[in-house]
């Protein structure tokens, strides 16, 4: 044993030595057979080699020729050597073997992806061994075609359908909704070891058949292959939509070769489908509601048959009185069989709504109320069509079951009632839905009624469109358009613009923000006037007889209604010969839903009175209120008034009656009071009282009262004059109110207005003046020297020295004064005026202010104010007169200017007192009539004047009320 061990060790050591020796002398080992031997011809040290030789010649670092040569010795470098090959062998091309591939490979080309190394073997070059290479080696291709998929399915949205493989029994699938995802699926295939990857490939065909869909072509790269998923999106669901009959989808597996991108497909599995037909709404004779908006008559059977109580019809709106309830008739038919039909939905979409409808609406027990702009009704088959379930839409896009058939708002109030629902599945091939929708407003119903213009949509829903507790709501068809308006229009701001004495323009403002104004009916009725009136609007004229007293206001098809189409808002009214009473004008506007509203106003033709200052008392109040004319553009017609202060009374207005009109200009300081007792209201007292007082005054020696024999006699400035008669007194146009006059009649006084804004008096003015009464003449002879100066042109003579002749060489202007004694005696007389003081009286017409003078008229019976000089002509003017008038019975302001179009009004500066003794009608009777100008002008104006109280003090004296009152009693 030990010997064996020793021999083995020696062998190992020897082997190791051989190896190390061999390897250590590797480069030379080969050269040992064929190598170069070099002899150095010159050794150098230092820099002679061009490079610094190092102390140790580093031949490896500085090889020849830089420093060290091939030969190298310590501390020197060889710069010149001679080398020779010795012991060499000449190799040849490697030979001696056949290259081969490793096991499992071959040089048969399977594919680039299977390419391995080259085939090889070990040969010789005669000098050494070598490797001989041959063709590339390839792994063999193992991929085979995959098996056929066992099934194929199509998923449309939430619905998955395993397609039938039987072409005679295709699977019915739902019609995809717009933008609904459609995917195709086959079972997953595990990648076999024999292939590099798997993929899934689909093709779809319509019933032509033509390929309508195909998957993306595989790339063969498992990493990037587009069909890696077993579920792929059908690129265009609309293609399914386009299928009208059956179709098929082929699904295939494919595997990818290991050695290249060759695809091997399986046999396709074919699934057959038929797309469900959504029940359309049947065509009407003229319209396909599935593709166009139809006439609403096609679905609203009662449209056009209704008329409101006032004769209005509407084919476009449901209103408070028309088309409400609104009857519907909608049919559905399903090609696949009416049994599939599950529901009808009716949807209202407001024109101006921007709310998007969700594609599906879920069923929800929580009723949050409808959205007025987007709402619908769902009539769904229950156990059968005899027991339908009715749903209302909610504002959160859900459906809620309504057992009471009332669609409610968020507060629980009813908005719409569903009436007379009938579903007929027998009579026609279609399922016919008839029902009515009644729209409510107020009175216990919703406070926010439906009001808008709607696009009305409808859709049949079959069993494929109701799933997972929701209903598909896409592909709603706008079958017709209709409006709902439950709000009355407004009519306001009726105004009259008087054009002349007979014509006025009636203006109004009608507005309806919902359905718009349809028509406006104008009616007019004469009350008391007795004459026809005419209404006119752009060529249309109607005459309304005065006898017409219909109570039908605002009716359509009424002979006495003037129809005005929007946007017109005015008509012309001609009152004809009406002068009294009033004309009732009624404006009734209808909107397009036959809702209406009206307003009215009166053209009051009764004259009215305006006053300023003083107390205003009327036993039974005022018949005709004053009009506010402050904003009207009126020509100036008044003397003491402006249109801004035209009012009934500016101090206190009172009446025994319990009603009095409000003052139209309270800012002027006027007040009013009703149910007032005025102690001056003593009908048979005042005349006799004033006469008694007057008689007393006549006996007062301190007062000078001049008696007039004739009322026309002049009463001078500051004089107090009176005329008293037992008979009627008629004051004609020659009468003037001058000075202070009191005209008394034990019967009646008739006076006509005389425009005397100021009193013009013939005034005699006497003054003491120095007046020339004569002259004195004084004459004397006075020497009158001739002072005249004679001037002339005096010639200048010169002598001609040659001839000696004198000639005139020029002229000289010379003036000569006569001598002093040239003159004459002249008789000169002087006249000296003689002045004496004399009273000189001149009579002249003087216009004096009448602020302290005036005339009072006192009649035991009536005072009649008759016609004055006509002053109006082209524009209204007023007769003007001044005076204070007291009549124990009546004051008649007579009817004047009958034949004139524009009649004079009457303005009085003073006061009118009519006590009404033995009068059964009105004590002050205004019979003047301005025709239509009564609407904007007062017929009579009275401006109070304090001066008459002062003037009356002279005629009637002063007074003070003295009352006895008991002061109590005592028992002494």
């Amino acid at each position: 044993m030990q010997n064996l061990f020793n021999s083995k060790v020696i062998k190992i050591l020897f082997l190791l030595f051989a190896i190390f020796f061999f390897l250590g002398n590797n480069t030379t080992a080969i050269s040992a057979a064929c190598h170069k031997e070099c002899t150095c011809n010159r050794w150098v040290t230092g820099g002679e080699c061009g490079y610094s030789c190092r102390d140790i010649c580093d031949c490896d670092t500085y090889p020849w020729p830089n420093c060290c040569r091939y030969l190298c010795a310590p501390n020197k470098c060889c710069v010149d050597e001679t080398c020779e090959w010795v012991d060499c062998c000449t190799p040849v091309a490697c030979y001696g073997c056949t290259p081969s591939c490793p096991a499992g490979q071959s040089t048969t080309v399977s594919g680039p992806l299977c390419k391995q190394n080259q085939s090889s073997c070990t040969g010789t070059t005669n000098c050494s061994t070598c490797t001989l290479k041959g063709d590339s080696c390839y792994l063999p291709e193992t991929n085979v075609a995959p098996p056929q998929p066992t099934s194929i399915s199509i998923t449309i949205g939430e619905n998955n359908y395993n397609l039938s493989l039987d072409p005679n029994n295709p699977t019915k699938i739902k019609l995809p909704m717009e933008d609904e995802q459609v995917t195709l699926t086959v079972p997953v295939l595990t990648t076999p070891l024999t292939s590099r990857g798997v993929g899934y490939y689909f093709r779809a065909f319509d019933d032509v058949p033509s390929q309508i869909f195909t998957s993306t072509t595989p790339t063969g790269d498992p990493l990037t292959d587009p069909n890696k998923s077993n579920t792929q999106i059908f690129l265009n669901g609309d293609d399914l939509i386009a299928l009208t009959d059956t179709g098929k989808i082929a699904g295939m597996y494919y595997t990818i070769d290991k050695c290249d991108n060759t695809i091997k497909y399986s046999t396709p599995v074919e699934g057959f489908f038929v797309v469900d037909n959504v029940p359309p709404i049947p065509h009407t004779p003229n319209c396909d509601p599935n593709s166009q908006v139809c006439d609403s008559h096609d679905f609203l059977p009662e449209l056009g048959t209704q008329t409101t109580a006032r004769g209005c019809q509407s084919d476009t709106y449901a209103g408070l009185e028309i088309n409400n309830p609104l009857a519907f008739n909608i049919s559905l038919v399903d090609e696949d069989g009416n049994n599939e039909i599950q529901a009808l939905t009716l949807w209202f979409h407001a024109n101006d709504s921007t709310k998007a409808l969700t594609p599906t609406m879920a069923f929800n027990d929580n009723n949050v109320g409808i959205d007025n702009d987007e709402f619908g009704v769902l009539i769904k088959k229950g156990s059968d069509w005899n027991n339908p379930n009715i749903y209302q839409s909610n504002s959160d896009n859900t459906w809620t079951l309504i057992n009471d058939l009332k669609i409610k708002d968020s507060s629980g109030k009813t908005v719409i009632s569903i009436l007379d629902l009938n579903i007929d599945t027998i009579t026609n091939p279609s399922i016919d839905f008839t029902f009515k929708l009644q729209f409510h407003s107020g009175n216990g119903f919703t406070e926010t009624p439906i009001t808008n213009d709607y696009n009305v949509f409808a859709k049949g829903i079959d069993s494929f469109q109701i799933y997972n507790n929701k209903v598909e709501m896409d592909r709603l068809h706008n079958i017709f358009n209709f409006g709902i308006d439950l709000t009355n229009p407004t009519v306001e701001n009726i105004q009259f613009s008087v054009q002349n004495v007979r014509e006025t323009i009636l203006n109004w403002e009608s507005q309806d923000n919902d359905s718009g104004i349809y028509k406006t009916m104008i009616n007019g009725y004469v009350l008391g006037g007795g004459h026809d009136i005419t209404l006119e609007n752009i060529g249309t004229q109607i005459t309304i007889p005065s006898s017409f007293t219909s109570e039908q206001i605002g009716y359509f098809n009424d002979t006495y209604s003037l129809v005005v189409d929007p946007p017109d808002s005015n008509i012309n009214v001609n009152i004809g010969e009406n002068e009294i009473g009033s004309i009732d004008m009624h404006v009734t506007s209808y909107d397009n839903a036959c809702n209406y509203n009206g307003a009215s106003d009166q053209i009051e033709l009764e004259p009215w009175i305006a006053t300023k200052g003083g107390n205003f008392y009327s036993n039974q109040g005022v018949k005709t209120a004053a009009k506010d004319i402050s904003t009207l553009l009126l020509p100036t017609a008044f003397t003491n008034f402006t249109k801004e202060n035209i009012t009934q009374g500016s101090e206190i207005m009172s009446t025994r009656s319990n009603y009095i009109y409000s003052l139209i200009h309270p800012e002027l300081g006027g007040v009013s009071a009703s149910s007032i007792y005025d102690s001056n209201d003593r009908k048979a007292y005042w005349f006799s009282h004033l006469i008694e007082k007057f008689n007393l005054q006549k006996t007062d020696s301190s007062i000078t009262l001049k008696v007039l024999d004739n009322p026309n006699d002049t009463c001078n400035n500051n004089q107090f004059c009176y005329y008293q008669s037992e008979n009627d007194v008629v004051l004609n146009d020659s009468y003037t109110c001058s000075g202070n006059k009191l005209i008394i009649s034990n019967q009646s006084i008739t006076i006509q207005p005389i425009r005397e804004a100021e009193i013009t008096n013939e005034v005699e003015t006497c003054t003491t003046q120095s007046v020339q009464t004569g002259t004195t003449e004084t004459c004397e002879y006075v020497w009158k020297a001739n002072t005249s100066v004679l001037c002339y042109q005096k010639p200048i003579y010169k002598r001609d020295e040659r001839t000696g002749d004198w000639y005139i060489s020029g002229y000289q202007y010379v003036c000569e004064t006569p001598p002093k004694d040239d003159g004459y005696y002249e008789e000169v007389c002087t006249y000296t005026p003689i002045y004496t003081q004399q009273e000189v009286c001149t009579t002249q017409l003087v216009t004096v202010q009448n602020r302290s003078q005036g005339c009072i008229y006192l009649a035991k019976e009536n005072i009649n104010i008759s016609q004055g000089e006509y002053v109006s002509n082209d524009n209204l003017q007023y007769d003007y007169m001044e005076g204070f008038f007291i009549a124990q019975s009546k004051i008649n302001i007579e009817y004047v200017d009958q034949d004139k179009d524009i009649r004079d009004g009457l303005e009085i500066q003073g006061g009118l007192v009519a006590l009404g003794n033995e009068v059964t009608d009105d004590a002050i009777s205004i019979n003047r009539n301005l025709r239509l100008y009564n609407l904007i002008y007062p017929t009579v104006l009275v401006n109070y004047d304090f001066k008459y109280g002062k003037i009356a003090e002279t005629f009637f004296g002063k007074e003070a009320d003295i009352y006895k009152q008991e002061t109590g009693f005592k028992n002494i």
């Binding site: 036993n619 009656s657 309270p666 300081g669 006027g670 602020r851 009068v919 003070a960 009320d961 002061t967």
Partner: protein
């Protein structure tokens, strides 16, 4: 037994006698009292009538005469006249009443040393004496012609007589020195209503221009005032206070600068004492009268409506 019946009869007779006496005395007493009351009532009525009659004499006399005589003879604290001394007759004579008969009437004749007496008291009304203004009537302060200092004013108070559903107006009239009356302006008249503080008691008073006035609220009325109108100066001529809707009672006090003739009221109280029963009445006579209220109206429609 017989004696027993006689004593009982006597007792019964005595009782009857006493009862009859009592009844008789009662009847007599009542009759006497009724007679007294009747006599007193008659005397009271007669006294009132005499007082009324005395005042009638004065009322029928022109106010100017009353005022003149007052100014002539009445001392500052007034005078009290009695007819027993013929003072009233003398007074009436001074007033110019000529148809006086003996001022001794009915059963209330003036007899010497009798209690019957007629009295007449004439004095200037003080500031607590109310002048009643009936609805539609006026109490006017005439300042024209009076010499008043520029600061002269009257402090007026008004009260209601009866219901408080009343009001009053105050109107001012201006004129120039030559008698020209100023044209009416809306500011010349103010309307007041009796008020609990805001609004008017009378709900039939309409308009925001009603000025609320609480009872006896003092209002200062300037009696000297000038306004400009159309370039001319107008001086206050007259202030007219008119009752609206009911009777108002006016009391007023004049500043010391205003105590001039023309603004006073004369209080005349006439009374009669007849058989111990005294009744009296009084009147208030304004020193200056004013124009008739019928001339205050711009429109007076006494019948129907206008």
């Amino acid at each position: 037994m017989k004696n027993k019946y006689e004593s009982q009869a006597l007792a019964i007779a005595m009782v009857v006698l006493v009862v009859c006496s009592i009844i008789g005395m009662s009847i007599y007493s009542r009759v006497a009292k009724d007679k007294t009351l009747t006599i007193e009532e008659q005397a009271s009525s007669e006294a009132l009538e005499i007082a009324d009659l005395l005042l009638d004499y004065i009322i029928q006399t022109p106010i100017e005469t009353v005022v003149t005589i007052y100014n002539q003879r009445t001392p500052s604290n007034g005078e009290s006249l009695v007819e027993s001394k013929s003072e009233i007759s003398s007074y009436f004579t001074s007033l110019g009443i000529t148809n006086l008969s003996n001022l001794s009437f009915g059963t209330c004749k003036i007899k010497e040393n009798d209690v019957n007496e007629y009295t007449l008291k004439v004095q200037e009304a003080d500031e607590s004496t109310a002048f009643e203004i009936r609805p539609g009537q006026v109490r006017s302060f005439i300042t024209k012609g009076l010499t008043l200092s520029d600061t002269c004013s009257a402090q007026i108070k008004l009260n209601v007589r009866g219901e408080n559903q009343t009001g009053f107006t105050i109107s001012k009239i201006y004129s120039t020195t030559d008698g020209k009356i100023k044209q009416y302006e809306t500011t010349d008249t103010e309307s007041y209503c009796f008020s609990p503080g805001t609004g008017c008691y009378n709900k039939n008073f309409y308009g925001e221009a009603w000025i609320p006035y609480t009872v006896n609220q003092t209002k200062d009325l300037a009696l000297v005032e000038s306004v400009e109108y159309s370039g001319e100066t107008y001086n206050l001529d007259e202030i007219r206070i008119k009752a609206v809707g009911g009777t108002v009672a006016l009391t007023y006090n004049l500043d010391s600068e205003c105590e001039v003739d023309g603004l006073r009221m004369i209080q005349v109280q006439a009374g009669a004492n007849c058989n111990g029963v005294y009744r009296s009445k009084e009147i208030l006579i304004p020193e200056t009268k004013w124009s008739s209220t019928i001339f205050d109206y711009v429109i007076f429609n006494g019948q129907g409506s206008i």
